[in-house]
């Protein structure tokens, strides 16, 4: 599949998370890396005196984001591969949306456990009640 726009990517990523929800196993892979392909104007070729040209590009580079369910050869029909390119200027906004989609999609993770705190509060209450009872006795 070709490169999607950011909006399309989010829509399809949400769908990908949704498709995994009623299954009891599986995995979704999200990858990000610098897009260095076809970026000659930002990246100069490494030369003898400057062999680490990629450490100081002349301008910010886009980031490539990929998502996949890593289905193998046997299940090629179910395989989903998504990719999008985020321009440096859109990075902040992209990751805000990305966090939303991931939070909504990763539903099988453990929710925050509040039982410990509750138990502690109860203990405190019981302790306080005990003290008042003690003082009330004499």
């Amino acid at each position: 599949m070709g490169v999607l726009t950011n909006e399309e990517f989010f829509a399809k990523l949400a769908g990908l998370f949704e498709s995994g929800k009623n299954k009891d196993h599986g995995a979704i892979y999200l990858t990000q890396k610098r897009l260095s392909y076809d970026q000659e104007d930002a990246l100069s070729k490494p030369t003898a005196e400057d062999s680490f040209a990629d450490l100081h590009p002349t301008k910010p580079l886009p980031v490539l984001i990929r998502a996949s369910n890593n289905k193998g050869k046997k299940k090629r029909g179910e395989k989903v591969k998504l990719s999008t390119v985020v321009e440096p200027a859109d990075l902040e906004a992209f990751f805000v949306r990305y966090a939303e989609v991931c939070r909504a999609g990763m539903a099988a993770l453990k929710p925050r456990d509040r039982t410990k705190r509750k138990a502690k509060a109860r203990k405190k209450k019981v302790g306080g009640a005990g003290q008042t009872a003690m003082s009330a006795i004499p």
Partner: protein, 177 residues
């Protein structure tokens, strides 16, 4: 490469790796689903035996099982040097924070200046982080929240304008406990 215990450590090391090899390093986030109950061999045999005689009950049994468990693995990998840094969690509360970390690392990938990272959004994120850690730390002891508070303070230093508010917030958390 073993897993890091703290996401902050992973973030720090990943940032260093990206600094050294920005062009080849990639970050993979794996969201894994696993059945909550592992089927043992005896059960499998029983299920097979049951399905040959009466298939409906076994499927009904499977449907009433617990929802699957998920976990999240963050991996920073640089193929040219072979460095691999990992962090694993199963807490839903961490997802937002981890994606924020992916964002800060994404900025590094894009070769954007670092200073802008510690802007308003990043600072809010650090505070949320401290809060989350404090909640986690309630049971385990006093040790954990202290470094996180220190980290929050350190992160707050560059953005001097809104430092006062952030510091107060951190203190409040401390007092609560």
């Amino acid at each position: 490469m073993p897993y890091y215990d703290k996401s902050e450590d992973w973030l720090h090391q990943s940032a260093l790796l990206l600094q050294a090899r920005p062009a080849t390093t990639r970050i993979t986030t794996r969201y894994n689903l696993k059945p909550a109950h592992r089927v043992t061999k005896a059960e499998k045999a029983a299920a097979a035996a049951a399905s040959t005689t009466s298939p409906p009950p076994s499927t009904a049994n499977a449907a009433s099982k617990k929802p699957p468990r998920g976990h999240l693995v963050l991996k920073t990998f640089d193929p040219s040097s072979g460095v691999c840094l990992k962090y694993k969690t199963s807490k839903a509360a961490e997802v937002g924070r981890l994606v924020q970390m992916l964002g800060t690392l994404g900025r590094r990938m894009a070769a954007l200046p670092e200073v802008a990272v510690s802007g308003g959004g990043a600072q809010d994120e650090v505070m949320a982080d401290a809060a989350a850690e404090a909640e986690v730390g309630v049971g385990s002891g006093v040790q954990t929240p202290v470094p996180s508070a220190a980290a929050a303070a350190a992160a707050a230093v560059p953005a001097a304008a809104s430092q006062a508010g952030g510091g107060g917030k951190g203190k409040k958390k401390k007092g609560k406990r």
